[in-house]
Symmetry: D2
């Protein structure tokens, strides 16, 4: 752990806090081949950036991301800004020879994502790595789900059912944020949470989605504007801003294997706080996982004796389970942010090994294309639309 | 309970057993205004009909349903045959002045259902009643869900999510039955189990579906033919018969209120035995129910103090709850067949009161029209299709 | 099913309703070797008895149980009165050559239970059968639990944990009933619900309890007296009656195998309606069951591969499962009263086969002795007390 | 956060890793009044200590705890060694004017704990603080449980039911560790996990236990000795060492309010990995929590309308909930180690405020006295024994 890996992180919102935990915790939990250091935090507002750096443990700060990626003493650029700036920063950082970790979704449009994926390919030729941050892949139960599927434990996949339901917009007086502005966020429930279930489906099944049929809807079209959101379509006080993204996205997809899959992304599921739920049904069994019970994986083994079959609730906290070597004894729960440490582990190991970290920018582009196809289908009366 | 109500039941399959429990148990559980008697059981095979009658407690048997509905001493005709004979029998029985209880789905086509609904209207003018058997409406937790919604406990409805998942066809060697033959059953998962979630959605929300977009699929197209299934497209032994109905039906619908609703009906959800699941999200709360935990209703009350909100698991076994007066002390569970006793209670009370029992044939027709629209949408590339 | 079995039932409270369901439903659900008929209902109040008989379907009524057991045309006497009359009626009925089904607990004291057990032994010599009604043994999931334990599926038993928690006395204004009067009920939570977990433990493990250490407590010592409860230690209106039984009984026991077992019986577990919960831990696995989720049995198989272990929720509704042949397709739930049909099935088959039905009066006596030992231990400062 | 708080931690086992997370994460999550720094890690083996320090981020190491507590530049001594050394180190550190955080149980005997509590009192007079590490108090759901009880949300407490069940000794070939050696660990299941449920009961109810009746048992009396465990009563290889502590401890207690409470601590509950479960029943409601679902608190409110009562599953991830201000948006789960950050927060705030941090050494002594009374009761045939 003696070769240093100097990281600059651009952005310091909620995702910046989460990524910081990853950089801080991973070296204490795992035997990493490189020693990450939290070198520079970059933000637009010098004071806020300094406060965040102090709290999270970044050594330096900057307000000029271009200057930072030009520095020789930075090895990794970690991008946690809103989606509209991902492409510009990532492409520049890769061109400057920095490994890039980019928070999901990869970009706000397919065009941007394609340019990023091309940049990643070009950089790979020079040993530079690019990774997109679908961290839910790294919840141990989700990795285990993927492993069991690829080991054939549920046989041939017959159906996929995935949903991600939250309720933070159910209150019509919940205020505007950049996440409700199409210019900043690209899309709403679809891109923010729908992207997770698209990526997870493609990850655990190993199959890409090839066509979709969907509908998107904005249930509350105007919301109050708070001071901090001025500029998002209104002014503070009694003004209301226009919600320009979807609150709900419902779609059906077909995997390259021919299998049908259903998807629901909504911010109006009253009482559901963070309910990412996925079930994969095969002809030899089924697997089910829910983020609100994130340490458990439910496995139905249709090859067990008749009369003893049922869903088995595997508590994914055993030494045999993915990523668990770094943590606590059996039965001690992991939480949301552990995925960010696992992300650092995987990225660090890939860099050291000269391999592409998963998920790649190509994976991110694949998700982007699905989201785009859903939007196109929604705009053409739910017609089936190729990805 | 001294005025008798003489019942003739036509058919004696699984549904005949269930309806018999209703006729047998309801008078012991509830103070009924009329005294049902199990007068005649009708079937095509005299021996099998006699054996069923002996076991279930029917006084007489017949192989001629036309003769039975012509008898003066029969008050109610209960139809539990496959869907292809519902229309003929029900229309004849109503014309003969008999009250009719017809198992769901009302018919195999919209045309039949329309004729039945017209016959019910004509009969109602003479005080003759017609009811369709969506018994899941009468699970106490489901009736309570409807009552709470109509009392405004979850406010304005924002989303509906309904699914009915089973796995009895997941095994490709599961044999042919009449339920997989389009001529007999009309449709597959859609009409058999999808019909339940369509009716339940319309029942608990009080809103009709106005348009749908859907896809249907047959995952296993040929199945082994057993002796008892000869005539269903093959001969016994090594022969295989063609499955001519859908195994999976996925659709999105819009209620007359404009609300989006998702539906999934499948017989390929490995490990899910009888998983009818419905969740209604409103701006003041949400309600969730699952048939595999049928005595519980989950209620999220968004008007409770912040920090104390959550889904409350109401065990629907209290004296205050619908239908519970007839049963056991608090905490003693009801099962699948109690709905059939509740059906008898409601039908008997409606006849005595000179009122239309719920659900009416018009309700059954409304479901049929939705199923038909789903089929039409599926055949036109999931285009949105009016009901 | 042509040989009749004529039944007289003595008592018509809540348990009378439940036993009536058993006599009415079992012949429709199962191929019984004898044909039970609901011949005579016996009660002290002629009008109430007649009303109950009419509702439940008993052919005749009587207010004189001695006269009824003297009749030649009665084959079975079913006793559902409070515990203080069990011994007298059962002993007389056995002496009169009637098979006896006696609701639990067998008696209010060990002395009575011993006399009953002796009477049952004497009667057995003449082909007369006696059975005590621990119906929870006959919930399919509980029978399956016993079967799996005796088949060695969880190995050697290491610990037992059983509780039965209700909350109907948590409200201090909940009124007096005969169940709170020691003269009528014998004991409180201990005998009413504690008896169930003692019997179930001995049933599923196959091991008898040999010694116990316990404590019993009455949390509310006086309760309001309602009109119908006059005579229970007070007069109606403002009067309060003395609760002379335990509200809570907590005890630890040792099985003949040496294994420790914990027991809790309480009527003060706020929010728990009928929470009979039992877990048996062995060195090769564990089994867990809860009455509020009565169709499921949870099985932990410690011989499964590391990383795939967990509790499997077996839905006990498959054709392979005990008693399920008589009921519905997979996934259709059974309720509280199905155990009473299973009881009739088992009793009828035992009588026809000339065998002793399970559980015997000896099993009932064994439970009574445990309850008595708990009371003695509680009165001697929780000292370990032999059964 | 500019005044530093220099910490020396003594010990570097599993608990050392967990405490290190707390020291590392708390300053990033919360606005602390003092700035903890991870100054010195102390262990007996210089190499192992250095490796641990490097991994966890401690600045220096030492093999001489006495030298470290004599240093002027150390403010806090954090003790995570086995229980047999707690007293000596803590008393010396307090005498040297260092604030002390001591992992639970406070000591291996009441005598030691009394001396420690006296030392804490003496130190408090000089502004020196002492805290014992019952971190489960600081799971947000547990703190919320305490808050709701003290706010009267469940009324008067009627019963307490607490258990802590694990299965890591269910396998008889699971090897010897210092935790199974009475000289090192003091006791087995009782002191290791039973201590948690005793403290939690006293914490959430606000009532101390005054007397107990219990039984303790060692189910497997000899276990294989691994190399690293040599010296624990055997030699490596084929040798087996004697287990000198309890595997199971079962006891009933009485709170100073008179309320009965049941406790079970076991390492033989096959399939239960870390099942700390507590339920408090009051006359106005109940609260239930289980460590294996640690982010949820179940609340039964008996004052809700009849027919709407049930256990509400509160997901304790809202901004209103204890400690949540430092973490993620609603619905994002916390894990095991977050309690250690909360511990650092509370200790730091107490030191800055000149107040005693909770739980105090007096709380730790109170637990020790209960454990001692359980042992004495177990040795006298479960006789009720004063604390």
């Amino acid at each position: 752990m003696t070769i240093p890996l100097r990281v600059a992180m651009i952005g310091h919102g909620f995702m910046g806090a989460a990524h910081s935990v990853g950089w801080r915790q991973a070296p204490a939990a795992f035997d990493l081949p490189l020693a990450p250091s939290m070198a520079v935090l970059v933000g637009r507002d010098a004071d806020k950036t300094a406060a965040a750096a102090r709290r999270w443990g970044w050594d330096e700060t900057s307000t000029d991301w271009r200057a930072v990626i030009a520095r020789d003493d930075i090895d990794v650029v970690d991008i946690v800004t809103p989606g509209d700036s991902h492409a510009e920063i990532a492409i520049a950082a890769l061109a400057a020879g920095k490994h890039v970790l980019c928070e999901k979704p990869l970009a706000n449009s397919v065009e941007e994502a394609e340019a990023m994926e091309q940049a990643a390919q070009d950089a790979a030729a020079h040993g530079i790595r690019a990774m997109v941050g679908f961290t839910y892949r790294r919840v141990p139960a989700v990795t285990l789900m993927r492993d069991m599927i690829s080991a054939g434990r549920i046989g041939t996949i017959r159906q996929v059912r995935a949903s991600y339901r939250q309720d933070w917009l159910a209150d019509p007086e919940s205020p505007m944020t950049w996440r409700l502005d199409k210019n900043r966020a690209g899309s709403g429930a679809l891109g923010d949470i729908g992207a997770h279930i698209v990526d997870m489906t493609q990850f655990v099944t190993g199959h890409a989605l090839t066509e979709v049929s969907g509908v998107m809807e904005t249930l509350v079209e105007e919301r109050p504007v708070l001071d901090e959101a001025v500029g998002l379509g209104g002014t503070a006080g009694t003004e209301r801003g226009a919600v320009t993204v979807d609150d709900v996205a419902l779609f059906t997809g077909r995997l390259e294997s021919g299998t049908l899959a259903t998807f629901e992304a909504t911010r109006f599921a009253t009482g559901r706080k963070n309910a990412l739920d996925i079930e994969i049904s095969g002809d030899a069994g089924a697997l089910h996982w829910n983020l609100e019970d994130m340490n458990a994986l439910e496995f139905y083994d249709a090859t067990r004796p008749a009369g003893e079959q049922g869903f088995t609730r595997i508590l994914v906290t055993e030494p045999e389970h993915p990523y668990l070597s770094g943590w606590w004894p059996t039965g001690h729960m992991l939480g949301y942010e552990h995925g960010f440490s696992h992300q650092v582990k995987d990225l660090t190991e890939a860099i050291a090994a000269g391999a592409d970290p998963q998920p790649t920018f190509a994976d991110g582009l694949r998700v982007q294309r699905v989201l785009d196809a859903v939007e196109r289908s929604a705009h053409s009366g739910s017609a089936w639309t190729g990805v």
